[in-house]
């Protein structure tokens, strides 16, 4: 596939079993490698919000977003790459922290507005939030001490200003809102 730049795709999906599998299948069919994926609740009950970052040419991305929208449970898909967005990810970094290094690490953390969320005898866990570049920069500062463990959530994004990033279509006050089958019943594992 043609390499393009990193795109941010936001999708609102019905919270039903198997949805993640269906969506992943559409990306796989088109040969995309997902750089990051986050899933969680949205402002609307019953709808989850997914944020993908993927590498690809604009035409390919457009095609795959159309394919994603064909998944019945996908309510809305937007490519927000051209929009002004707030984009953040969260990282937890477990770093070696011998007693003599602690002060330096805490100082670095402060510069990046990272919180110390756990202290061990020879380690610290930092929690940092920001865009990918900021997390990368923090990591490179911590690497000399020895990064033992790292977890990054991947990007979440929201369009700046009053407009909503993705909007679920109006249901005209219809209370049977987003699904007809088995509303409100607990499912064998939700979403996945």
């Amino acid at each position: 596939m043609t390499q393009g730049r990193l795109h941010t795709i936001v999708a609102l999906v019905e919270n039903r079993p198997g949805v993640l599998n269906k969506i992943a299948s559409k990306w796989r069919q088109r040969g995309f490698n997902i750089e990051s994926l986050t899933v969680g609740h949205s402002e609307t009950p019953g709808l989850s919000r997914m944020t993908f970052t993927v590498d690809g040419a604009a035409h390919d991305i457009e095609q795959v977003t159309k394919q994603l929208f064909k998944v019945i449970e996908v309510v809305k898909v937007s490519d927000v790459s051209e929009e002004k967005v707030v984009a953040r990810e969260l990282a937890l970094i477990k770093v070696n922290a011998a007693r003599e290094d602690r002060g330096a690490i805490i100082e670095i953390g402060n510069m990046f507005r990272a919180n110390i969320v756990d202290v061990g005898t020879d380690s610290l866990v930092l929690e940092a939030t920001g865009n990918e570049e900021k997390i990368d920069a923090l990591l490179s500062m911590l690497e000399p001490f020895g990064v033992r463990e790292l977890v990054r959530t991947g990007r979440v994004a929201m369009v700046r200003g009053g407009t909503q990033t993705v909007v679920a279509p109006s249901t005209n006050g219809n209370e049977r809102h987003f699904r007809s089958a088995g509303e409100g019943k607990p499912k064998l594992g939700s979403l996945i």
Binding site: Q29, Q63, K70, V74
Partner: protein
């Protein structure tokens, strides 16, 4: 309100949807459904011999009736046997509702006997699928399945229901309407785009219509005819668009593409406006995309927004139901004559008679197919398999019976011909139904012949038997230095085989016997298998080799070396 069990609820749903026929096969996980079946005598169950055939027969039934085809299968192997049939329906946008029994819910995910993750397996080949884990969800899930399968761009939907859920009791309540937040197919097109399309048509000197399966699915043949006649635009139909425009019409030009009419392939390269109506610019139609229709602006009408711009750059993109869009478009188009352009087609057709049959005493496959078309009357239906016989069947179809040609286009499923013809005959019990069979494809699904005897289906099977997997042999001859590998196989005696299934069998190897055998088959009240032992090495032309442009279509086969020299 009285309570019903889940299986009865399934059948109540089918009744609500107006289903009169189910194609299926029983097994451990769908036994409650079969247990409930006698209480619904208005619903007929056709017992196939292999689940793949259930899906193909239901697929053909759906194409002919315009209703969703309904399929039942059990869990595990029953469900996985459906996969080819579901994929076939998916590729050709056919509405199917497949209801599979699943292992009891507490065994799901534990590799229970005959367990297969059929919802997982069918994700890429269904429009929608779901596993139902609560009896109260059955009715909404089936309502949703019919809604999704039959609206927008149709397609197969699978509902997987564990055996214990089929046995749970609940009140039956069918949803009045299905509301899905993420599913609102566009029917009427944007009027501004329709205006732009009309303007483009008015300005064109050499407009050309390629009509696809969308015209057939939307039953829009009349609207298409109105458009073509008003502006005098020549009409090409894709393989699946056959039957979407009257074959005898003077504007009709036949099929384009890999084995299409030579004049069409050149015509596409020469036109200045190409109207793709309910079609998807498949590679078998376009050839190399970079050289496709270089002089043309493209107006693309399709109900699936993902098809617009997928393969070709579009000048006017129109998303909507083909019938609705044509109704919007026709009044806005100015009457035109395009005399020169139509004369161009007439001249091309005289100079390049793509489907003229050579004079010979040999029994040529095209000759057999052409004779069947000539002798079967104006109301006959046809199903085909895949390969050379399919292409010839498409090339020589110039009939007027709308929506009467059923073939496996997108997936190209050999073996489709037998169960598909059975599905067509069930949908059209009083009409002549021919199955054009390859000798290879016929052997893939011939177990279904027994249905013709069991359900008194008078299907006429014409095996175009060249004793080769003909299309593969043609490619091996042409692109693999004549290295014919695994294309010749032991053949059973098809006449005896037919007789063993309770069907009349005939064998024809003499050209002089063709007409009388076809007439005898048409007179015979039951099913017939005719083994037409045709010339073994006849190739299918015109042919556009894979990967080249339409301009490089080869009109006639190269002069053949004698068989012993190859």
């Amino acid at each position: 309100m009285t309570k019903l069990n889940g299986a009865e609820i399934i059948l109540e749903c089918l009744r609500k949807e107006g289903v009169d026929t189910i194609f299926g096969y029983p097994g451990g996980a769908n036994l409650p459904m079969y247990d409930a079946l006698p209480k619904y005598p208005d619903i007929r169950h056709i017992l196939v011999r292999h689940e793949q055939a259930a899906a193909h027969a239901a697929d053909a039934y759906a194409r002919i009736t315009g209703k969703a085809g309904v399929v039942w299968a059990t869990s595990g192997p029953g469900a996985t046997n459906l996969v080819t049939g579901i994929a076939n329906a998916w590729m050709d946008s056919v509405p199917l509702v497949c209801i599979t029994g699943a292992v009891v819910s507490w065994l799901i995910g534990r590799d229970g006997f005959q367990e297969a993750d059929i919802t997982g397996i069918t994700i890429p080949i269904t429009k929608h699928n779901q596993l139902v884990l609560d009896v109260d969800d059955i009715a909404p899930a089936i309502a949703e399945a019919f809604h999704v399968a039959t609206t927008g761009r149709p397609g197969p939907v699978l509902v997987d229901i564990p055996r214990d859920v089929q046995q749970q009791m609940a009140e039956f309540k069918y949803p009045d309407r299905v509301e899905l937040a993420g599913y609102h197919p566009t029917i009427e097109a944007d009027p501004a785009l329709v205006r732009r399309a009309a303007q483009a048509i008015d300005e064109a000197q050499r407009p050309l219509i390629i009509a696809g399966h969308g015209v057939v699915i939307a039953r829009a043949a009349d609207e298409l005819k109105e458009l073509a006649e008003k502006a005098q635009i020549p009409v090409i139909t894709t393989l699946l668009g056959i039957g979407g425009f009257p074959g005898s019409h003077e504007l009709y030009q036949g099929m384009p593409g890999m084995h299409g009419m030579y004049w069409n392939n050149i015509g596409i390269q020469e036109c200045d406006l190409l109207l793709g109506i309910g079609m998807r610019f498949d590679d078998r139609v376009t050839g190399a995309l970079k050289d496709f229709a270089p002089k043309a602006k493209i107006v693309h009408i399709d109900i699936d927004p993902a098809e617009i711009g997928k393969n070709v750059k579009t000048f006017v993109p129109i998303v909507g139901d083909v019938k609705a869009v044509l109704k919007q478009l026709v009044p806005q188009v100015k009457p035109a004559r395009h005399d020169e352009w139509r004369a161009w087609f007439r001249r091309m057709r005289e100079e390049h008679p793509s489907i003229a049959i050579p004079e010979t005493d040999k029994l040529l496959p095209q000759y057999v197919i052409k004779k069947i078309y000539e002798l079967s009357g104006p109301n006959a239906y046809y199903a085909t398999g895949v390969g050379q016989h399919q292409m010839w069947a498409a090339q020589y179809f110039w009939g007027d019976n709308p929506y009467s040609f059923v073939t496996s286009g997108g997936l190209g499923t050999m073996g489709f011909e037998v169960p598909a013809a059975i599905g067509v005959q069930i949908a059209r019990p009083h009409d002549v139904v021919w199955s054009f069979c390859g000798d290879g494809g016929f052997q893939m699904t011939l177990e279904e012949l027994a249905l013709c005897t069991e359900y008194e289906l008078p299907v006429k099977f014409a095996i175009i038997n060249n004793n080769y997997l003909g299309m593969v042999r043609q490619w091996q001859d042409r692109f693999y230095n004549g290295n014919k590998q695994s294309v010749r196989m032991f053949q059973p005696d098809f006449v005896k085989l037919a007789e063993a299934m309770g069907i009349q069998g005939m064998r024809v190897s003499d050209k002089a016997m063709v007409e009388s055998s076809i007439e005898a088959a048409l007179r015979h009240p039951g099913a017939v298998v005719i083994d037409f032992q045709v010339d073994e090495v006849e190739d299918c032309y015109p042919m556009m080799p894979p990967g080249v442009s339409l301009s490089e279509t080869i009109e006639q086969p190269p002069v053949k070396q004698p068989e012993y020299a190859r």
